[in-house]
Symmetry: C2
DNA sequence: CGGTTGGCAATACGACTGCAATGCGAAGGC
DNA sequence: GCCTTCGCATTGCAGTCGTATTGCCAACCG
């Protein structure tokens, strides 16, 4: 073989550029040439490593999931062995929340992919049934062991992420809501951060903030179409 | 003036077609010609009623929110005067959840718009700060009156919607999780549907189901891009 | 009846898309 | 020292995009 290049490294480099484009301008702006320009390579090279655009999208999709998984594992690993369940869950969930600008960018990409795959189920067939396992794990950490409560906690995390991305919740409000939920599930903790002080619903989104309304109806129905 | 046509009715007809296209093929597939074809009109007519595509998108966006609002009001109106807070909240939230195939289509559109506006904040500037008001209202219905708990309940609803759309949760599981949460907030009810019986995490999504993984990381981070 | 005006269709245009095909330089195998 | 093979860039093509422009038809005013 002639040249020696790490095939997978190149693909990751391209996928990084894709995520950068998607985070800034949305998935609609993701095109071969656009991604190539963002990666600082030629459009032909992108085509060389991904024979089709769908292939590129699928790779980027799995890259997103891999990175988040790594993020959770890093956060949990910093916790030491056998942490108390409440702290473990809080750490894992906080690691999955888009709390700072860097993780918000990733969250936007993930959100875009969420809508993307909602219409193209085949694009994510390779991904594992992580959600079900996660619910199961959460339930095992709960005092009640209730799967319903575990599913609710996971959904709460998801919703917090959506609202954080939409700008309706600030990071602190989201964490307060999370802690309040953990209070409900584990029982209140004296030294916790679960106090009610200082919470105020944010108003006045006129200053270029993200939309509120469609978040409120993110999952609403419109009848037929 | 010559002809007599209801300007707004035409716009709604076109917006309906747009939502149909978006629900089936995603927002990326929404183009003037596509929408025109779905509406059974000429492309020129669409252009006549919406001078620009962004104008059309904004109109459809507000139409989505209007419809969901109407849905909630209809559900609440069927409840009679002064319903108990728990029942009121459950009814409102259930009305916003994509529980059947018809509302799922609307939910897909709303999800697409959510990702869309995450990148174009200006497209939704006209929408009101509904979320903050909603949190406030929920808090007023809660025994604790805790805004944190209210924000958490709203986030849980949002997450349930996302997972319902993704196919990770079935309608019954979502409602069970919702009721379990209401149990936590209001205290358990003897006659409630909050039993743990029959809950089983769904596995084996191989059969064309929607993705699980990127839902699990819907709000994760990927570092920088 | 002529003219004006709104409703709507058709077309043209430039920019962009994904993708296939082609070309060329460089690095090893023989 | 060829010669294959890989890495990568370039170009071309058919199609779609959003938008501006043009033109026809029907309806109402005078």
């Amino acid at each position: 073989m002639p040249k020696k290049v790490d095939h997978d490294e190149r693909r990751r480099l391209i996928a990084d550029a894709l995520m950068r484009v998607a985070a800034e301008q949305g998935l609609e702006a993701v095109s071969l040439r656009h991604v190539a320009a963002a990666a600082g390579v030629s459009a032909g090279m992108v085509q060389h490593y991904f024979r089709t655009k769908d292939e590129m999208m699928s790779f980027a999709l799995s890259a997103v999931s891999e990175r988040s998984e790594a993020r959770v594992q890093a956060a949990v690993g910093a916790l030491g062995a056998d942490p108390p369940p409440r702290q473990l869950l809080r750490t894992m969930i906080a690691a999955l929340l888009p709390l700072d600008e860097a993780t918000r960018a990733d969250g936007r990409v993930a959100l875009a992919f969420l809508a993307y795959t909602a219409v193209r189920p085949a694009a994510s067939a390779e991904l594992h049934p992580t959600t079900a396992e996660f619910v199961h794990f959460i339930a095992s950490q709960l005092p009640s062991g209730e799967p319903h409560q575990a599913a609710g906690l996971l959904a709460l995390m998801e919703g917090l992420g959506v609202y954080l991305l939409g700008g309706q919740y600030e990071a602190e409000q989201a964490l307060d809501a999370l802690d309040a939920q953990l209070d409900l599930l584990f029982g209140p903790v004296p030294g916790g951060r679960a106090g009610t002080s200082g919470w105020e619903v944010r108003t006045g989104f006129a200053s270029g903030g993200a939309p509120l309304v469609e978040v409120g109806e993110e999952s609403e129905g419109v009848e037929r179409a």
